[in-house]
Symmetry: C2
Subunit: 299 residues, 2 copies
């Protein structure tokens, strides 16, 4: 068994001000014992309070893109979210030498991703966590998001901790609170806390030898004309089918002229973040993933 | 057969700036023959251009609440949407003595309402239109929304015309363009234009004796505490079940403390606009409807 131990855990809500489940859950957990475990301390934090008040994702720039080491160290980046990022890095990090062992960041998506555990780094801790969560919540999806990247280059808030994950649950429109989605977020967060408790105490139950997961490959943009105007949308045969196979030659986009644009890749992929409202800013249509397997490092 | 005839029809998109289907369809129809029929003229209009540019529902106040005669005539109401309403009333109305015979206003909702034809007035034209649309599009829902109210008191943009309807399609998050939803909006709009053509030419096909519909009763607010803070959300057994029966005693809300609040009305009702994101501003949870029947006035 590992000698690794986690002393300080932080759960963050409201990193995006219009993703309500995390905000309501943090507010609730501040008044009950939900996040309490014996072997570690848990801090609860609301990240983008100004965007929350305005029911917007962000005020000046996306807070969950401000945590690369380069940005945190660049004192010329001074807008609201760039400032909040530096403060949150002081509170939870500092990145690279953090006082927080695990940051759990709570997010909603408009995409039909169900309860997804997003993992941006590799290692035995993550492998065991992913297997534990899937074992206890079979509907959970494990999403390995650029887990090869040096942590300093990651721009996600959760990468301020020694470990960090995102609990990403959808579908839910921005600014809407859905009961089922909120319960799924609470359930996944509770399982992560339970896992850390077992991990610390060396009391992990017998777990499967392996589980299925998805690893991010690259993103697709919406089709545009020569002047950059959108000329199509995600095809209805893809919409809502997050983490379902997309084979070469399948419909991908429908143009406004009624044409079908097909997926021309050479292998079957698994789209996700399909039609995520917030990604339209960058004209993104979806992320493509490949299927992956996580092996139990204790076997 | 009636001697009524429609000469000028207007189709409006972007009354809410983050409801994308209508905006994209109007832009498309400006460059093709989709909205053209022989017996009447069709005007295409984008209503809240500033909110569209900002990907917001509205800038200062909801444009689709500014068209009561009292507001249109009150020159002290001068914010952006109050000003746009007065200009649109000049273009399509004036309300009460309009140059436009029919205004079709295109909307999206985050609620699971499918393709819904919202009718805010009564009369033979509307009854025939509703029966025609349902006959050709069985998945369409007919929603009679305060159809007893004097037209001057209605605050909807579509009530600037002699006749007016809303094509309301969901579910789709704000700021997202969905292929299926967009196709449903185009299909329903096309059927309305076809109907007007038949109505004008006296060439309506044989239609059913009656169809089912829903009539608005009243709205429900989310549960709040003594200080007006939300203490619960729509119960997962209601979420997504727009136009499905809700019986006395059924779960209605889930409080953040895990309690279930039940529906205490005395008769079965049919909720809609369940969890519509935009209605949170007014703390609305849903609208309740009763089942209604529309009889064919030609039988």
């Amino acid at each position: 068994m590992t000698t690794d131990r986690l002393t300080n855990v932080a759960i963050v809500g409201g990193t995006h001000g219009n993703e309500l489940a995390g905000i309501y859950l943090i507010n609730r957990w501040q008044h009950n014992e939900f996040s309490r475990r014996d072997s570690f301390n848990t801090q609860l934090l609301l990240a983008n309070t100004k965007a929350m008040s305005n029911n917007r994702r962000y005020m000046d720039s996306d807070l969950n893109r401000q945590f690369a080491a380069k940005c945190l160290n660049d004192m010329s980046l001074t807008n609201y979210e760039q400032s909040r990022a530096k403060v949150i890095n002081q509170q939870l990090g500092p990145k690279g030498k953090p006082k927080t062992d695990l940051v759990i960041d709570l997010h909603n998506t408009t995409s039909n991703m169900g309860p997804t555990l997003l993992i941006p780094q590799r290692g035995e801790f993550y492998d065991l966590l992913a297997i534990y969560v899937r074992h206890h919540m079979p509907e959970a999806v494990i999403f390995l998001d650029e887990d090869h990247k040096p942590n300093d280059d990651h721009h996600l808030l959760c990468t301020t901790g020694r470990y960090g994950v995102i609990v990403e649950v959808g579908p839910v429109p921005q600014g809407v609170l859905k009961h089922r989605v909120t319960e799924q977020m609470a359930r996944m967060t509770s399982l992560i806390l339970d896992f850390v408790e077992h991990y610390n105490l060396g009391s992990l139950p017998e777990l499967p030898n392996e589980i299925g997961a998805f690893r991010y490959l690259y993103s697709l943009t919406l089709p545009v004309d020569d002047e950059g105007r959108r000329v199509g949308m995600v095809h209805m045969s893809v919409e809502g089918n997050d983490f379902k196979p997309l084979s070469p030659g399948s419909p991908l986009f429908a143009t406004f002229d009624g044409e079908t644009i097909r997926y021309t890749g050479e292998k079957t992929v698994y789209p996700t973040f399909i039609n995520e409202a917030a990604y339209y800013d960058n004209n993104l249509a979806m992320s493509l993933c490949e299927a992956a397997t996580i092996l139990n490092p204790l076997k």
